[in-house]
Subunit: 386 residues, 2 copies
């Protein structure tokens, strides 16, 4: 096992009908900015429950945070925070709203150029303070509700922002708030959680026995519960399992002390930025092809994945790996998520644009080994095309 | 899944030779009380490294915290904290030192009768402050390094103390610091971690899919690594896996949203208090018999445990459960831990004393269902005797 630090202070409030407890968790004298997306939280009554939970506190609202939240949109909220002297942020929504809120929390007190906060990759940006924030999570997918990361869109790219000051102080996870989600968003969420787990698991062996077993447990659970919760959106138990799986897939726990490979995400981000493909869809396109091109580097963990997650024990090593890749693709397809780039209306020439964008964003040495260069990324994209 | 709250703010610093980082984690102006047990931390040089890590800070030492830490011993430390105006506690040792330090952290600022803090069971005692504390964990077993609980011995009983203010701010887990442990302590630690996991897992089904899979992963890992780390005490990777397994077994994560059954611990505590049987040994004695007496109540989870942890699929339900119980007992025995009360020099008449102690301590409605009364506890003890 590699040396590691692990610290995750977020208080999870899990269960149905608990939003009245906001009153205990938000400071009594806070002036609160409530942030949300396109308005479904209004339509389904979640916002009303949140406002009731906040009681007599001064509240300002900021709606309209779009999927893949844009720097320019978030800067409008930053201006509002400064003008209104807000001292607590409450995100009500999915990963985009939570990520956007984290960026606002970092940017509002920042004295320098806010866009520069996006230029630090996985390293923490140089902030020495952030507004406290909490979340009411309405979409099981990104894990943003229990981690310190965000992804912000800016000038045609998607940029991570990660800092320990950006952990939510609390996150409400009420599975019933997600019943009304469109099917496509739930399916995307299952894929997102699945691939988050894979990126921390299918690398090279590092004696992370607990981490591996836990990752395999999340994957097996998603395989069981994903189709079920799509078929029965109001089955509380199935949805609760998905919600908690998605949180656990990216709260840091399975990633401690082991190598990580965020290749699928990094290439996927460019597909979203260039072609507007949903984040979960972009992962379903790229993941199987990463493995086809990286069979050698990931051989041992791919074989472990094949056996422990899919019970594949027949055939020689290459056959078992191929079966595992096929099973994974089939799983994504079974959720209704297409896995070929050509199926999303992208011309083959689009691959050049993706490779150019990767180069422009410095994504020239990806993978758990740092040896996945642009030529391999191109080959992955070619393979993923059709 | 049941509603739950989860919050665990402890910062884990995992890996070899990191004690110099104490300097970053303990407040620079703190006056520190360093607490330890019988002196092995001196003998093996750990204390020197800790003191070096604390640099120029004012440091006072308190040694001699015994296994199953006694209230009277801990109160001497409380007096020292008050007299010396200590403002940070650093536990260097195993579960007893860490638990004792937590109690001291709660008791030192407490204005009332300190012994009353032991009378709240699993509910938080009425403290409104606690000294900050950190740990350097030298024995993989109790999980105290990453939870808010402690167990203190007082007037012939063992009493839990649990409060969110008692989470360590940080815990150093350096597997190499545990290489010099006596074999019996390592074996007891494996049993302790194993039974911690079981007490949160073998109850009744509650749709805790992630929790179940993670618990099964910890159990399988302990089955693999327990014998290995006993045979090769200086194999860093094996010991690192044990250390992290023991922490994960009782950091709260596998217990969220599911029923828990602390019967084995509660009966085991009386064996330790009355007969001086090591904590891990007491669990190995009681656990198999709890299951024999509670086959009906735990049937579904015992069958799941049999299949997923031990790959037992042959035979009818009762046969599969019996095999799982036998496998568990054999596992404990394979570590050198005896599983019969008679093997620890206890007369059969001692069972009466245990039942009386359970009654005196209010342990009259144990188990995940609250229906395990003294007659069942007696039957468990009779079964466990020989």
């Amino acid at each position: 096992m590699q040396n590691f630090d692990y610290r995750n202070p977020t208080h999870i409030v899990f269960g149905q009908d608990r939003l009245a407890e906001l009153n205990n968790l938000v400071p009594a004298d806070a002036k609160v900015l409530v942030l949300y997306g396109g308005g479904s939280v209004k339509r389904f009554g979640t916002l009303d429950k949140v406002l009731a939970g906040l009681g007599e506190r001064q509240v300002v609202e900021f709606g309209g945070i779009e999927p893949n939240p844009q720097f320019d949109t978030l800067m409008k909220a930053v201006e509002m925070v400064r003008a209104e002297k807000i001292d607590f942020l409450l995100a009500v929504g999915g990963g985009s709203v939570m990520d956007g809120t984290k960026f606002i929390a970092a940017a509002a007190p920042y004295q320098g150029d806010e866009a520069s906060l996006l230029k630090h990759g996985f390293a923490p940006p140089p902030i020495d303070g952030a507004l406290p924030l909490g979340t009411v999570a309405t979409l099981p997918a990104t894990g943003s509700e229990m981690n310190m990361g965000a992804v912000v869109s800016y000038q045609g790219g998607k940029f991570p922002v990660m800092h320990p000051l950006l952990f939510p102080q609390f996150s409400f996870l009420d599975p019933s708030l997600t019943f009304s989600l469109p099917k496509v968003q739930v399916a995307n969420g299952v894929v997102d959680a699945f691939v988050h787990t894979l990126e921390q698991y299918v690398t090279f062996p590092a004696n992370g026995h607990i981490q591996d077993r836990t990752a395999e447990g999340i994957l097996k659970t998603l395989i069981e519960v994903g189709p079920q919760t799509l078929a029965e959106p109001e089955n509380y138990e199935a949805r609760a399992t998905l919600v908690w799986s998605a949180t656990c897939a990216l709260n840091g726990f399975i990633g401690v002390g082991v190598p990580q490979d965020w290749t699928t995400h990094m290439i996927g981000h460019e597909l979203t930025a260039l072609f507007g493909i949903d984040h979960g869809q972009s992962l379903a396109i790229i993941q199987p092809s990463v493995w086809k091109l990286r069979k050698t580097e990931k051989r041992e963990k791919l074989l472990q994945y094949a056996e422990r997650v899919w019970d594949i024990t027949e055939g020689d090593e290459d056959q078992r790996i191929d079966q595992a890749i096929a099973k994974t693709r089939d799983f994504f397809e079974s959720l209704g998520v297409k896995t070929r780039l050509s199926e999303y209306g992208v011309e083959r020439g689009g691959i050049d644009k993706v490779v150019q964008a990767l180069e422009a964003h410095g994504m020239v040495a990806l993978s758990e080994r740092g040896d996945l260069d642009l030529s391999v990324s191109r080959a992955i994209l070619e393979d993923a095309y059709a």
